[in-house]
């Protein structure tokens, strides 16, 4: 029969251990996002235009190529960076260039940005440039939003659906 003090010792020690487990398994709480603020997520994946236009091989160039490598057009794979701008009530929230992915820089650019904003009614404008042009934008979208605290507003982009999608 074990000594009573050992049983008592177990009870005391395990009670303390249980309190520790009970508390730290879901406390103290952690504030990941200011509950008074809303969140705008800019997130999409988009393949921009090629950096250089395709051009037709000259007969001399074609002759220089191995027979199995001959094709009418020479297309470089590299894409231009995707440039995105987001403004809220005229205030700039985001203006950033995103490089295409892949070793040959021929993949889609991946955009994933979290922007904390004040809740309320706002005019949101999103612009995107995915070509070699130096000024202006290829796509633009604007929306009037009424966003609540902790609410998430997503700015997506789908070229096949005509551009920006706000949800």
């Amino acid at each position: 029969m074990p000594e009573p003090r050992y049983i008592l010792g177990q009870i005391v020690a395990f009670t303390l251990f249980a309190i520790g487990l009970a508390y730290f398994s879901n406390a103290p709480s952690y504030t990941y996002h200011d509950p008074e603020m809303a969140l705008i997520m800019v997130s999409f994946s988009h393949a921009s235009e090629r950096k250089e236009d395709c051009r037709r091989f000259t007969p001399e160039e074609l002759a220089a190529l191995a027979a199995n490598m001959r094709r009418p057009m020479d297309c470089k794979r590299e894409r231009v960076p995707v440039y995105v701008e987001v403004t809220l009530d005229g205030e700039n929230l985001l203006s950033k260039s995103y490089k295409p992915t892949g070793l040959a820089k021929d993949g889609s650019a991946s955009i994933y940005e979290r922007i904390t904003v004040k809740p309320g009614q706002h005019q949101l404008i999103a612009k995107l440039r995915d070509s070699s042009r130096e000024e202006g934008f290829d796509y633009e979208g604007d929306v009037l939003i009424n966003i609540k605290p902790k609410e998430l507003f997503v700015i997506d982009f789908r070229k096949d659906l005509g551009g920006f999608i706000f949800k």
């Binding site: 050992y6 010792g9 251990f17 398994s25 879901n26 406390a27 809303a38 997130s43 991946s110 994933y112």
Partner: protein, 524 residues
């Protein structure tokens, strides 16, 4: 690192001393950390099986199925869920304390690198398995974990499209995602079990079950906790709302706030760097290698006691290679041997009574030969005076023996007390080299070489070969497993033992006087 280790060891030893008082050495959880980890693992597995029966992998059904278990079926499903959570948390605690303790006690170098090295991947497996479990609940905490983990994974420039995009809107989320999570949540613990099995491969008689009383105590604690504070889900996940404030399980998620505030790539580099560093700890610097046990085939009869007693599975019995009539011989695996000498203590040929031939047992340590042990014993007993003369046999991982030496006490030390063949006690007492033999070593339940104290106790009690001969008066044997911290208690036990020896001497003198008197009367 050395200073940190010393401080850590000091803290552990003193806390454990206190636990020894309230728990007793047998139940002290600090001596059962690995076994408790295994025990919690099985609780998690069994409770997980039950939860799996009721868990639904649909996007909205996942949360609902757990709500049903928690509230409608609180008496079974709710308890199982709480056991699942709290045992998982307890597993993390045990694992981390186990890691720190083995580091503090310096039990990870030389051949012991294996358990350390294989233990490190278990950290990743336990944490990922636990986090995948929280993910399956699909409440606000799960939503937070999903987003943060996905963003963390996206920091590795491998994935073309951000994984975190899958958690932008509820419409993007598929039930297949939960199927994947269930698969991960089952596969990871299974793989963990495999690694746990590898982790203990170099340990003979590994402790994978805690003592029954401790198991009952800890299971009762988890059950009561499950009743008193059942594990609950947070509000259901809604990808349109940011989970602003979450109640984290800090046992599994202390890194999440860091992931939110430091770049993902930095966290990856820190985690991978820390893992590699942890894996390399046994070689920073490498432990000093002491020559390993050597088998003398001339004296090895292949009895296999050394193989049975070796705590690190360093001895195999193989077919005889010297043409002897014996069937087997002991073969030492250098990469496993920690030079503790426990095999020497188990060898029946390691007897100090041998005088006709040279004292060379079947197996011994080149730097601590059994012949030298006999010579040290003789030297230590040479100048002892009185009727309470004591030879102390101690291990080199416990109290410094030098301070124990005086006119009545001689000290002989060895790497582990398990190295002492019981015949040495018989030798000292039958040759009247001392009036008593006192054994000391690491704390009970915490032998540096795992099984030294256990085998010594069993040999002295006549329960394990080589047994102490019955003719030895057990009253003249004392022992106190002092470790490094119990100096005061050790001296008080030694003093009490010497008083016992004095009483025995007085009683013997009186008996002798009485028999002389009765002899004289008969003569008269």
């Amino acid at each position: 690192m050395i200073a940190f280790k010393k401080i850590l060891r000091f803290v552990f030893e003193h806390v454990e001393d206190w636990f020894d008082v309230v728990f007793g050495a047998k139940w002290n959880p600090f001596y059962q950390l690995g076994a408790l980890g295994w025990f919690y693992y099985w609780i998690v597995v069994i409770s997980g099986f039950y939860l799996y029966i009721f868990f639904d992998t649909g996007v909205t059904q996942a949360y609902q199925s757990l709500e049903y278990l928690t509230h409608e079926q609180w008496y079974a499903g709710g308890i199982m869920r709480s056991l699942h959570r709290y045992a998982s948390d307890a597993l993390v605690v045990m694992m981390m304390v186990h890691l720190l303790r083995e580091f503090a006690m310096d039990r990870f170098r030389s051949p012991r690198w294996f358990a350390w090295f294989t233990g490190v991947p278990m950290l990743w497996l336990v944490f990922t398995a636990g986090i995948s479990g929280y993910w399956m609940v699909w409440d606000q905490l799960a939503q937070y974990i999903a987003i943060t983990t996905a963003e963390f994974l996206d920091a590795i420039p491998l994935f073309g499209e951000a994984i975190a995009r899958n958690f932008l809107t509820d419409a993007k989320l598929s039930g297949r995602f939960f199927t994947l999570m269930v698969f991960m949540h089952i596969a990871l613990p299974l793989f963990l079990l495999f690694v746990m099995w590898i982790h203990i491969q170099r340990h003979a008689a590994p402790k994978v079950n805690p003592p029954k009383e401790l198991a009952i105590g800890t299971l009762s604690m988890l059950l009561i906790l499950s009743f008193v504070k059942p594990a609950l889900s947070q509000a259901p996940a809604d990808l349109g709302i940011v989970p602003a404030t979450v109640n984290l399980d800090w046992f599994y998620m202390p890194i999440y706030p860091i992931m939110n505030n430091v770049s993902g790539l930095t966290v990856w580099i820190a985690l991978i760097g820390a893992t590699l560093l942890l894996m390399l700890v046994p070689w920073m610097p490498p432990g000093k290698r002491v020559p390993v046990a050597v088998v003398h085939l001339d004296n090895c009869n292949g009895c296999s006691r050394c193989a049975a007693d070796c705590p690190f599975s360093a001895i195999d019995m193989k077919p005889r290679s010297d043409g002897s009539a014996y069937r087997q011989e002991a073969v030492v695996d250098e990469s496993h041997c920690v030079s503790c000498g426990i095999c020497v203590g188990s060898c029946p040929t390691a007897t100090p009574f041998r005088t006709r031939s040279e004292l060379s047992p079947g197996i011994e340590l080149p730097e601590d030969k059994i012949k030298e042990l006999r010579e040290k014993t003789i030297a230590a007993s040479n100048d002892l005076i009185g009727n309470d003369r004591v030879i102390i046999y101690g291990c080199q991982n416990s109290l410094d023996p030098a301070e124990m030496v005086d006119a009545k006490v001689g000290v002989v030390t060895m790497p582990c007390i398990g190295m002492l063949p019981p015949s040495f006690i018989d030798y000292v007492l039958s040759k009247k080299m001392a009036d008593g033999v006192f054994l000391t070593g690491c704390r009970e339940g915490d032998c540096s070489y795992r099984l030294g104290i256990k085998w010594t106790d069993a040999r002295l009690a006549g329960e394990r070969d080589p047994r102490l001969r019955k003719r030895v008066n057990q009253e003249r044997i004392g022992k106190y497993w002092a470790g490094l911290t119990r100096r005061k208690e050790f001296f008080s036990e030694l003093t009490a033992f010497r008083m016992r020896l004095t009483k025995l001497a007085t009683a013997q003198t009186e008996n002798r006087a009485e028999s002389n008197e009765s002899g004289e009367k008969i003569d008269a």
